[in-house]
Symmetry: C2
Subunit: 169 residues, 2 copies
């Protein structure tokens, strides 16, 4: 069953205009790449759009599949290279605990991703918390650790799924 390229996904609010959400993301990406002199090629744009298919984590091989299965279709390195580019520019984040990728809603400010991941509906929410940043910085400073990268992934159940579990598939 072919899926629309742009659906908000199971975990989205019912009134969420995902079409617009994706357009915004692609627009921001274009602006940002232009400003940096980076080339948002057709392929990279398509991969970004596929990752933005919903507010859920997307696997590299899912992207690969959605790029087309015709002979001469994309191969794994193609996808991984595009994802690497997008990550380098902060347009997508990698979720280590899922081996998957998710679009970043605020790529302008470079930042580490911190995520709330719903096990029930798959919805991924990025958050930022000054307290959390401070806690990690404090801990690092205390032991003289020079921070280069952080992974903060919190899995659980989002409020929507706690009250109304998603319909069975």
């Amino acid at each position: 069953m072919p899926i629309s390229v742009r659906t908000a996904g199971r975990g989205a609010a019912p009134d969420h205009d995902h079409e617009r959400c994706v357009d915004d993301a692609l627009g921001r990406a274009a602006t940002l790449c232009a400003r940096r002199g980076a080339r948002l090629t057709d392929l990279r744009r398509r991969v970004l759009e596929l990752v933005w298919q919903g507010h859920e984590a997307v696997k590299a091989y899912d992207v690969l599949e959605r790029l087309g299965s015709a002979p001469g279709a994309a191969k794994p390195p193609t996808v991984y290279r595009a994802l690497d580019f997008l990550m380098a520019h902060g347009l997508v984040h990698r979720l280590e605990s899922l081996n998957a990728y998710v679009g970043c809603p605020r790529p302008e400010r470079s930042h580490k991703g911190r995520f709330l991941i719903c096990d029930a509906c798959g919805h991924v929410a990025e958050f930022d918390s000054a307290a959390l940043r401070a806690a990690i910085a404090d801990e690092a400073q205390e032991v003289g650790f020079g921070v280069r990268d952080e992974t903060v992934e919190v899995r659980g159940v989002c409020w929507r799924c706690q009250t109304a579990p998603p319909a069975a598939t």
Copy 2:
């Protein structure tokens, strides 16, 4: 070149008595399993010891290799099952960002692992921070998210490597 089963690893303090460190860990594991009625079999004990070979992350396939390469040696499922058991009892943690495993120094209290991982020497330090716990709890509460599991992995350079980079291999 055969490696001693018990070395502290590159990132350890020079005066660290790792022999004793491992003995302690194995002892605690035995006690804890006995109390819970869990069977710390020979295989599981050996895997735990191998993971404790140093204060560094160990890959599942490294454990596999170290278990022996003779014909009839262990196969992947054997190792993964042992690791699953050890994780279920909090004796080892999985590092998502490295696809690797590390011994837990305080398995008695069930807890989420939070780690400082040195990119230079590989040393992994588990830490606990009330502020960090609170920051995550606050964020979750604010959006009605029910936390089930957390991954906090901070990569960077430990103080030892900042002042004296490890000798080249």
